[in-house]
């Protein structure tokens, strides 16, 4: 029997999950911020449907550059930083995955990554191998690639 993405056996009463995959660097494209704001909108999506929508964000490829802390977009561009959006989401307990292999490729050490501990966040960005991102791709109900 073939099951559609919305008909996974045993999952009918669970929240729908959407995986937002961010593969572009910050500020050169609007897409990463659109992904993040779309993900945030999931928290109020149940105004429109009878289920909750669980967002998960995954940074892959050059998208991992969004996760570097101390962004100065306010100073240079006069706009709120992607960092601030990510911190807000961590403080909201949104699961956010960062591809370990891409961090290594760009020589970004974990200590350079954003955290929201100053905002009282209980979780950090979760550095995982791409195989874990793939598992999330298989688990989610919908995937949105930005």
């Amino acid at each position: 029997m073939s099951l559609s993405a919305n008909d996974k056996e045993g999952e009918n009463n669970m929240a729908k999950s959407i995986l937002f995959v961010i593969s572009r660097p910050p500020y050169k494209s609007e897409n990463p911020k659109l992904a993040i704001t779309h993900a945030m909108a999931c928290f109020v999506a149940d105004m429109h449907i009878d289920e909750e929508v669980e967002p998960v964000v995954a940074f892959v490829g050059d998208g991992v550059l969004n996760c570097i802390k101390n962004q100065r977009s306010q100073e240079f561009y006069g706009i709120i930083s992607t960092e601030q959006h990510i911190k807000n989401q961590l403080a909201s307990d949104m699961r956010m995955l960062v591809c370990k292999e891409d961090l290594y490729r760009l020589d970004i050490k974990p200590e350079r990554l954003i955290n929201a501990r100053d905002m009282g966040a209980d979780i950090d960005l979760n550095v995982v191998g791409f195989n874990e991102v793939q598992k999330e791709m298989e688990r989610c109900d919908q995937m949105m690639w930005f």
Partner: protein, 119 residues
């Protein structure tokens, strides 16, 4: 038949992504599927009324109207539009303007979600 949500992020002019998204929506509707068409980022320019047809530029207003008549929900992102000076009075009649929660709710309930474009 399935419900398909198409998120478009490219502008009306500048690439053929918008033409492709509209063609995809037309094909899906013609096959009997239900379609949601979401304009976000620069794609909100597709919703602007008063577009003129030139031979060198994509012109999709009439095809969007036909999609609406065939039951496609066409919606532009409110924040993306307002940031570009496109307000509700500037939008083609029948195209709705909503915030992103509308789209992610529709997407969550869809059978398939396709994202196209983005600068």
């Amino acid at each position: 038949m399935a419900t398909i949500s198409i998120g478009l992020f490219s502008s009306l002019i500048g690439s053929m992504n918008s033409d492709f998204a509209v063609k995809l929506a037309e094909t899906a509707v013609n096959k009997g599927h239900s379609v949601n068409l979401w304009f976000s980022g620069n794609a909100v320019t597709l919703a602007r009324k008063g577009q003129k047809s030139f031979k060198d530029y994509s012109y999709l207003a009439e095809r969007l109207k036909a999609l609406q008549e065939n039951g496609v929900a066409i919606v532009a992102c409110e924040a993306c539009a307002a940031a570009r000076g496109i307000h509700k009075d500037d939008v083609i009649e029948g195209i709705a303007v909503h915030s992103m929660d509308w789209y992610v709710a529709r997407a969550a309930k869809s059978d398939r979600v396709l994202h196209i474009g983005g600068e």
